[in-house]
Structure formats: C-alpha cells, structure tokens
C-alpha cells in the first residue's frame, strides 16, 4: 500500500506543479492546496501504514501506528488552511485593486521594466 500511496501523492504533486505554472491566480492557489494534500499523504506513508492500531491508549492495543507524522500533519493541515485563506483574500484584493487575476498582467509598473 505504501508504494501505491506514494505514487498517488506523486501524481498529486505533478498536477499541482502544472497548476502552479499557469496564469490564473485561482489555478495557482488550487495547485498549492493540492500540493499540501500530496505532502500529507506522503508524510503519513513515511511512518509505515497499518503497523499497529489507532494511537489511543487504554484500549488494550499492543502496538500503535506512528503517532509522530500524525501530529506533524495535524499542524500542517491547519497551516495550509491559513495559507490558502490568505492567498484567496490576496487574490480578491488584487482583483479589486487592479482588475485582473492573471499573473502575467501583474508585472509591476511599466517604468520598472
């Protein structure tokens, strides 16, 4: 299963890379979000899958799955949510101020170039 999940996260990373390279801000943000999904799956896979029971004590389990990646991912989910929210609002504000969501048109001022 580990190999399959790894390949799956690789596919997600590929898709997100493709999205990040596009012009529309929304596509880029979507790409970044998909990227974090891929990474989360990978992190969890790194600890080994189904090696024990749910990491809850007191239920008579002998061994547990690796709890450390889970804690990391929990943090990461929250942070990537914050990033997505900020990026979306940034896109909103950019569209409000400059009237475009195309990053090719966001190249600074003409006299800078």
């Amino acid at each position: 299963m580990e190999t399959v999940i790894t390949i799956l996260s690789g596919v997600l990373v590929s898709i997100s890379t493709y999205m990040i390279l596009s012009r529309s801000v929304i596509r880029i943000i979507l790409g970044i979000s998909i990227f974090s999904h891929g990474v989360h799956l990978l992190l969890l896979t790194m600890g080994g899958l189904k090696t024990g029971s749910v990491p809850l004590l007191g239920r008579g389990a002998e061994s547990f799955t690796d709890a450390l990646p889970q804690a990391l991912i929990l943090t990461s989910i929250v942070i990537s949510f914050a990033v997505t929210a900020l990026l979306l609002v940034l896109a909103y504000r950019v569209y409000q101020e400059l009237g475009t969501d195309n990053v090719y048109d966001l190249r600074g001022f003409k006299d800078d170039l």
Binding site: M1, E2, T3, V4, I5, T6, I7, L8, S9, G10, V11, V13, S14, I15, T17, Y18, I20, L21, S22, R23, S24, V25, I26, I28, L30, S33, I34, H37, L42, L44, M46, L49, T51, V54, P55, L56, L57, F64, T65, D66, A67, L68, Q70, L74, T75, I77, V78, F81, A82, A85, L86, L88, V89, L90, Y92, D101, V103, Y104, R107, D112
Partner: protein
C-alpha cells in the same frame, strides 16, 4: 591590558556621545570628546621611557582561542610612534573642529565617527593578531567613508566617499587573502611570530602572492600610484577630517603595514622594487599634479600623495639592508628606514598644520580657489606664518624639520643607488634623479601655496567674506604643530633617540639582536656634500620654475582627460552597473511562472542529479501493507479526480473535484488509523471549499488559458519530472531507514503527559510551544486577511506608487 583598554575607550565613549549630547547643550560636545585623545596621548606618552629602554609590551585577551584569534596588543617603538600621532593630532583636530563646525551641524555623528576612527586606527597599529588587525583596518575604511560623506547632501561628497570605500576595501580584501596565506605559511596569526619565522618562508610558493596581496592592501590605503585617485575626491570631507584622516593618520596605515612586514619580506627583490619604485613614482606623480591644482585642498591632497610616496620609497630602500642578512656593512642602508620614520613624524606635523590653515582660509573667506585668493598676508598674518612654516618645511628648507628628513632622503637615495644588488648597478642612478626631480616640483607647489595665497594684491570682491583672523581656538592647533616643525629641527635627536631608534630596532630585529645600534644622530649641518648641493639646486631651479610657471603650465594639457585613472574608474563603475543590471534583468522577468520554473528546474536538476549521481535509488515493495479492493477503488477515484482538475472547463467543477480529493484524503486518514487527522481534515476541507466558493463570488470566471502550446508542453514536462522525482525520492527514503523511529517514546503518553490520545499529547504537551507558535501563524494570517479586506489607501496617497 591597559593598551587593550586604550583601543576600546574611543568605542565605548562613542556609544555614550548621543546621550551626553542630549543632556549637555550648553557646552560644545567637542570639549567632552577632547578628553579621549588627550587621555590616550598622556597614557601612551607614559610608555616612552620604557620603550626607549628597549622594552615592548604585549597583552592577550583570549577571544576565539580555538581558532587562534585573540585580542592581542603589542606595543613597540613603531606602534608607539603611530599611537602618539593618532592621539596627539587627534586631540588638536578635535579642538580645531570645535571652532570649525558650527553647532548646527550634526555634531554627534561627526564625533562618533571620529572616535570610531580613532579607536579603529589605534587597533590597527597596536594589534598583534592579523585577523584583529584586519577588522580594525576595514573599520578605518568605514569610518573614513562616513566622514567623507559627512555632508551627504552633496553629490561630490557621496561620490568621493564611495570611491574611497571601493578602493580601500578592495585593497583590504586582497590584504586579507595575503594574511591568510601568511598564516598558512607560518601557522600563526601573530605578527611577531611571523617575523620570528621570517627566514623559513621565503622559499614557500605562497611567499610571492602573499607579498603582492599585502602590498596591494598597503598601496590602496596609502594612496600609492595608481590607487591615489581616491584621495583628492576624499577632500570633500570637512577640513579637520582631511587634516586628521587623510594626511596625518589613516593614509599612513599602509605605510605602517609595510614597515611592520619589512622584517618578513624585506630583502626580497620584488618587495624592494615594488615599494621603492611605486613609492618614487607616486612621489613624482603627486608632486607633478599638485602644481596644476587650483583648489588649495586638492593641492594638499596631491602633495600628501607625493609625500606618502616618498616615505614609502624610503621603506623600500631600507629593506635592501636585509638582502644578505646581518653584516656590519649593510647597517648603513637601514638609514633609509630611519629617515622614513623621521619623515613620517615630520610630515604629520607640517601637513596637519597646512590643512588646518587651508581650513581657516576656507572658513573665514569662503573660498579656497587659488585664482581668487591673494594678498591675505596683511589681514591674516598669523595664518600666513603657520602656512609659511609648513610649506617651507615641506619644500625642505632650513630651519624646519622637513629639511632634515629631505637631506636624509637624498642620502638614502644616493646610498641605495650605489648598491650592486637587485640590478641596481644599472638602474641605481635613477633613484636619486627621480628623488631630486620630484623635490624640485615639491618646491614649486610649496611656493604656490604660500605666494599665490598670501601675496599680490588683495581682491575682496572675489571673496565671499572679507578676510580676517579666525578665533584663537582655530589658530592654536596648527600653531602647536608648527611649533613642533621648528622644535624638531633644533632638537631632532630627542625624537630620534626616544622613539625612532626603538622603532627601527623592531623593523630590523636581526640587526638589533646582533647588538648593532641602529639609527643615527641627526644633525643639521653635514658640511658641503652632495645632499646640500642638491638642495641648493632645488631652490634655484624651483624658484625659476615657479616664476615661469605660466609659460610651461601648458604641458598639463598634453594628458588627455580620457586616459586618466579617474576616467578608468568611472568607466568601470558605470559598466559594472549597466552590465549587472542587464544580467539581472535577463532572468528577473517579473513573470511569476518564470520564477516557479527556476525553482522547479533547480529541484529537478539538483535532486534528480543527486539521485542519479549517487545511485541512491532503491526500490522494494516487499514490506508493504496489503491493499483491499475498496482501497484500490478509492485510489483510482482520487487519481481520476486529480487528473481531471487541470482540464476542468469551469472553476466550479475544479473546486468540486478538489473537494473530492480532500474528502478522499480524509477517508485515507481513517484507513491509515489516524482518526484525529480525519476529523480535522473534514472540518478544514469543508471550510476551504466554502472559502473557495465565496472567493469565486468576487473573482472572475476562470477563462481559457491562452498559453502557447510550447509553454504548455514545457509545463507538462516540468510537472511530470517533478512528480517522478518526488516519487523516486520518497520510495528511496522509505527503503533506507537509517535508525529506529523515536515514536515509541510518546507511547508513554499517559505516564508523561496524562493523556490517552498520543497525537493530542504530542500537540498539547510534548510540543506545546510549537502548537502555540502555530496558533501565532494563524493569528498573523488572520490579521493579514483582515488587513487585505478592510484597509484601503487614503484618498491622498492613492497614486503614490505610480509617481
């Protein structure tokens, strides 16, 4: 110990200057600053008796002992001479500056920079550890930069400061490399130990590069040809600074370095010819160019260049004595070094005084243009007297100290020219000839300084203010210096025996060890000898040239301005700017995609390259957990949803597909025995999808990407490679477990943290601080979101960025 403290005192006081300045407004801050150099001067002067008895003082404060870098000071005759000059001239300059600068100037800056310089310069001459020496060396460059740009609203000040910084710091870097080479050769950071190991290094392959690089540092600092171009531009600094940094002390740091390293490199042919040759060339070129200057300060700048060249060349000549090691015959050639040390002191006295008088003229009359000045003698008799003393001393006339050192210079040039080493038997005659020619030119510009300024008809209409004597406080410092100019002439041996002899013993340690008494008794009269005839010829020819100046001044126009070193400097600076600008522009395109492409390509190149290069790829699926059929189904659904997103026609479809992926991830979390993650993922996924939908309300429908096909293909290739490398690395890492997981530690969660949910105890107890910072990140993001939505430009500055 006390010497280490002496270096640090100026820095410490400088830190307090702003506070003192705020508290004490009634008296000029300069009077408080004055105590520093005065105190240090008295402190250093108290060492004179023991130094002249041949003692030296060293003290080490360990700093980074493991790297061999210690704050070691070493006080001997040579550093004492410099130390006394720095503090003595420093004290006079501070007094002078009190009257020179009006209290409206930003005096705190001025005195902080000045103290910074004073401490740094003391550090240069008193440090024994070359790394410490280097740090102080660059600090002098920086404080010089700050002081030249003191009037930073002037363009010329800024340019002059930039020029001096670029040239001296570049030289400093070269010197640092040279120092490191020295350390490699001698295995020590201590200058004294390097001198001790001098005999062993001369065959080393790094000997010549180290020699050249250290000389580069010394030459840039001591304005030797062709690096002299920064000094005239440095004259934009306030005159007290020109008098202090750019004639008496800082520009002599290079000379100090040459003197310090003479025992290591002296006797080498390259060293002899470079130091002597460049010195003589600088002597001539400076004197030659000084004559054509119309600005008094520029004239003094070129004369400083010329005089420094003279001192430099004498150190070069003196180094010849070391060529064959110690022998009673070669002692005579050390006289050149003795003369150099003597002239070093003399130059500081008369040049300091001259700068101060020029400052007085500038301050009182409002101009320092020779073409406008004339006839000031009746109105400024005291200034005239000081100027005349300084100039005649520089010209080498009796009864001033410059006469003595110039005679000794001629002696040295004649003696060295008659040597038979270093192919001097063919070239030797040029030495006294160049020395003599340059001295004639020196005489001419000294006369210009005195006669053009003070004689002739007084024309007040050309001046900004009518001429009159300055306040006493501005007269006293140059008067004290010119007193020394005369006093040293009559009692040169007080200086010679107490300071110069100990210094020269430090430069020729092998000679001193042989019991030789180096240095000599300086006398005013040697009988009718070649040197005296040379001086008489200088006076006669110089006077003729001065009187006929306007007939031959045309030769200065023979040199086209375009071929000067200044033009070369300007050209390189300009090219540097345009070239680097175009290089930067070629890759900083402003397209977000390009920057992402750089990042991804680097990832592909480095990580992929490393994988292939090291053969780290390792693939093994035997330890995998089994996959149930429904898991396969989930995988396939997720896979298809992912692939479909880039092809989605409408953004709504895309975000729905994105939601599918998110919830599937949550299901996978369940399958992977991570209930907390699944819960969080479901909540967050829901909120995120809502957020996307809200954003869609405000944003336009995503249009068709009208990207060219080639770009699309490139993007595809890049993203496929990134994914492939990602997978390969991940698989390799999974199979390469180097050590056991530390997770078992957390399985004692109940005993350690009192919680039964291991993941929760990690977040809430073991790594609680991380979680708190994570909340801080959320808070910052929240603030950002709020600011983006709520804050708008004020009406007034809406177009601020456009202008």
């Amino acid at each position: 110990m006390i010497v280490n403290l002496a270096i640090l005192i100026p820095f410490i006081i400088a830190a307090f200057i702003p506070f003192v300045h705020k508290k004490i407004t009634r008296i000029h801050i300069g009077w408080i600053v004055l105590f520093v150099p005065l105190l240090l001067f008295i402190l250093l002067a108290s060492f004179i008796p023991s130094i002249s008895d041949g003692q030296t003082f060293a003290y080490t404060i360990p700093w980074i002992p493991s790297a061999g870098i210690n704050f070691t000071t070493y006080l001997d005759g040579l550093s004492l001479i410099f130390g006394l000059l720095i503090t003595g001239v420093g004290a006079l300059v501070v007094v002078y500056s009190i009257y020179y600068l009006s209290s409206k100037e930003s005096l705190t800056h001025f005195y902080i920079y000045l103290l910074l310089f004073m401490g740094a310069m003391l550090g240069v001459v008193l440090s024994d550890n070359i790394m410490i020496l280097y740090v102080f060396w660059e600090l002098t460059s920086i404080s010089s930069f700050l002081l030249i740009a003191f009037w930073y609203h002037r363009k010329r000040s800024r340019e002059g400061a930039q020029k001096s910084l670029l040239i001296t710091v570049a030289g400093g870097f070269a010197m640092l490399v040279g120092f490191i080479m020295m350390t490699v050769m001698t295995n020590t950071f201590s200058v004294r130990e390097m001198i001790g190991a001098a005999g062993e290094v001369s065959d080393h392959t790094l000997f010549l590069p180290a020699l050249l690089l250290i000389l580069l540092g010394a030459f840039t600092k001591s304005v030797q040809f062709p690096f002299h171009i920064w000094l005239p531009d440095a004259m934009e600094a306030p005159t007290p600074i020109s008098a202090y940094l750019h004639s008496a002390t800082m520009v002599k740091a290079g000379i100090y370095l040459v003197a310090r390293f003479t025992p290591v490199f002296g006797g080498d042919t390259t060293w002899f010819w470079l130091v002597t040759g460049i010195g003589l060339l600088t002597l001539f070129w400076g004197a030659f160019n000084a004559i054509r200057q119309t600005d008094l300060k520029a004239l003094l700048a070129y004369s400083t260049i010329s005089q420094l060249g003279m001192i430099m060349s004498m150190f070069g000549m003196g180094s010849a004595a070391l060529h064959n090691g110690y022998s009673p015959d070669s002692v005579v050639y050390t006289q050149a070094t003795f003369a150099a040390l003597f002239h070093l002191v003399n130059h500081s006295t008369f040049k300091g005084a001259l700068f101060m008088v020029v400052g007085i003229i500038d301050h009182e009359v409002g101009t320092r243009d020779i073409r406008k000045l004339s006839g000031l003698i009746t109105l400024m008799p005291i200034s005239f007297t000081i100027m005349a003393i300084g100039s005649f001393s520089m010209a080498g006339l009796p009864p001033f100290n410059g006469f003595l050192s110039k005679e000794m210079f001629f002696t040295a040039a004649l003696d060295t020219g008659a040597l038979s080493i270093f192919s001097l038997d063919t070239l030797g005659a040029t030495l006294p000839v160049i020395a003599w020619t340059a001295s004639v030119l020196t005489f001419v510009y000294c006369m210009i300084l005195v006669f053009k300024t003070f004689f002739g008809p007084y024309r007040e209409e050309k001046l900004e203010r009518p001429a009159h004597e300055p306040p006493v406080g501005m007269i006293v410092p140059p008067a004290i210096l010119s007193f020394f100019v005369i006093a040293i002439f009559f009692f040169p041996n007080i200086l010679g025996n107490h300071l110069l002899r100990p210094a020269i013993n430090g430069i020729f340690p092998t000679f001193a060890a042989a019991g030789e008494s180096l240095g000599r008794s300086i006398s005013q009269w040697h009988g009718f000898n070649t040197e005296l005839y040379m001086t008489i010829a200088i006076v006669i020819l110089g006077t003729i040239l001065f009187l006929t100046l306007r007939y031959w001044a045309g030769i200065y126009h023979l040199f086209p301005e375009k071929l000067s070193f200044n033009a070369l400097y300007d050209f390189s600076l300009e090219q540097l700017e345009t070239r680097s600008n175009s290089v930067t522009k070629s890759y900083m395109t402003g397209f977000l995609r390009d920057y992402f492409v750089y990042i991804f390509l680097l990832f592909i190149g480095l990580t992929g390259g490393a994988m292939i290069f090291t053969g780290a790829f390792d693939f093994d699926i035997s330890g995998n957990a089994p996959i149930a059929t429904y898991e396969w189904v989930l995988v396939i659904i997720m896979f298809s949803a992912g692939i479909a997103i880039p092809f989605a026609k409408s953004r709504l479809t895309a975000v729905l597909l994105y939601g599918v992926i998110g919830y599937l991830v949550a299901i996978f979390f369940v399958l992977m025995r991570a209930p907390d993650l699944a819960l969080t993922q479901i909540v967050i996924e829901t909120v995120t999808t809502v957020l996307f939908l809200v954003a869609y309300y405000f944003l336009p429908e995503w249009g068709k990407e009208n990207t060219p096909k080639r770009t699309k293909v490139t993007n595809l290739i890049i993203s496929l490679s990134v994914g492939a490398i990602f997978i390969v690395v991940a698989l390799a890492v999974q199979n390469g477990r180097l050590f056991e997981s530390i997770s078992s530690f957390y399985e004692n969660a109940y005993e350690l943290a009192g919680g039964r949910n291991i993941v929760n105890t990690i977040l809430g107890d073991f790594r609680a601080l991380d979680t708190m910072l994570e909340v801080v990140v959320l808070l910052i993001a929240g603030l950002g979101v709020y600011a983006f939505i709520k804050l708008k430009y004020g009406k007034g500055n809406q177009n601020l960025e456009d202008k």
